[in-house]
Symmetry: D2
Subunit: 141 residues, 4 copies
Amino acid sequence: MANEFRYKRRVQFSETDLAGIVHFANMFRYVEEAEHALWREVGISIVQRGSDIGWPRLNAALEFRNPLRFEEEFEVWVRIAELKTRTIEYEFTLVRGKSVIAVGTMTTICVRRQADGTMRAAEIPDEVAEKLEPYAAEPEI
Amino acid sequence: MANEFRYKRRVQFSETDLAGIVHFANMFRYVEEAEHALWREVGISIVQRGSDIGWPRLNAALEFRNPLRFEEEFEVWVRIAELKTRTIEYEFTLVRGKSVIAVGTMTTICVRRQADGTMRAAEIPDEVAEKLEPYAAEPEI
Amino acid sequence: MANEFRYKRRVQFSETDLAGIVHFANMFRYVEEAEHALWREVGISIVQRGSDIGWPRLNAALEFRNPLRFEEEFEVWVRIAELKTRTIEYEFTLVRGKSVIAVGTMTTICVRRQADGTMRAAEIPDEVAEKLEPYAAEPEI
Amino acid sequence: MANEFRYKRRVQFSETDLAGIVHFANMFRYVEEAEHALWREVGISIVQRGSDIGWPRLNAALEFRNPLRFEEEFEVWVRIAELKTRTIEYEFTLVRGKSVIAVGTMTTICVRRQADGTMRAAEIPDEVAEKLEPYAAEPEI
């Protein structure tokens, strides 16, 4: 069974809005932070200096179930729903204590930057795929 | 047929990230800005001082088709896909020239803040529903 | 001698800009995070539910000495330069390893929200002043 | 006498915090937006694709006089206090109607990125200096 990575975080003041709760766009920052922490956990970084590989997002979606407030501690649980040849689909659950704050998905695609600055879909480097596999629901076949 | 509201915007430096493009979480800020501009367009504000009404998000989702870069001008096209008794479902298309940058949806729910600070779903005030109706695909029945 | 509080942090992707380094405005978020962590350290919160006390900023200034990059770990060192009747002046040093990233100051003022929504300067509550005193360079006389 | 550039802006929801006002760190984004709008006004961009020139900040400081709230329209007035060989010192005044919201300064330095990724101070290109001069209090001597 796939592993799940858990990222701990505390809500910062600047992440709230006048409604007194975390602004929903910041929830997408939280899931990205968890993604990058998962990569570090397995010994890789989403940014490789001098590399022409990049990881733009294809899509991101969250359902919001409960508000999150200043100074509350919460966790982002990350699983890889699908680790394909060129894309990674993540599943996230944001949890505070026993409350689910949000659930959602994000798909990122491996690209190579071309000489003209555009990006072209590329195969995920083996090193990355191997490191992430323990967190993937179904290993790539 | 429902009207579509078009919100014009320019990418700011602080909205980009080290990949040289707009960070995806900021795209969610852009669609919210367009939502609020639509409300202003019809003469209402999403924030009513002294009111106990609020508009938290139930969900938000974007598909990203093309990158957006510093200083580029773009538009967010907003339509209301469904104007229900308690919720509003928006549809967005982000466009730069002839390129679609992103498409997506967001659902917001009308709530009343209770004395204990919690929020409870409430009917959308008539004044708000009437003002938004021209932008709704199917008027509430 | 006054204590110094040290807040540890890692740079997140969304905090960088197209120049490949942390956007300078985010450095001001970092120092605020450190301020709030110091308050938690001494057992208080800058936000008291149901209180009419607030802590807006009078000024904030940073000098930038070295860039900070994605995933780098750094610390914010906080001292209270002056703890006055109504204001708190903080001094900050942002440090990564042996490099000073930035130094600066921020002054915050204690206010009470009036019935009409405006804010009026107020004396810092004794409980807050006593808790912060160990971090103040010169105890208020 | 030096010209002053005026940049118009409206406060967005995501720029407020739980105190119900614009978070102070966002004021630094506003002044940067005004700086970049001034550059566009004179026909240049702070980002030149393919150039090794960059403009990191040396310092930034703001004094806050009045709060700014959701949907309020305001202006950032920009002047160049000093246009030196390698640095530009800006002065800003944020104004809403007849109220001064904030005043402050920011110094930016012209750098060239070296082959090893570090940055070295460089002379401001003539084209840039000439274009900005009408907004400079004292032309460089």
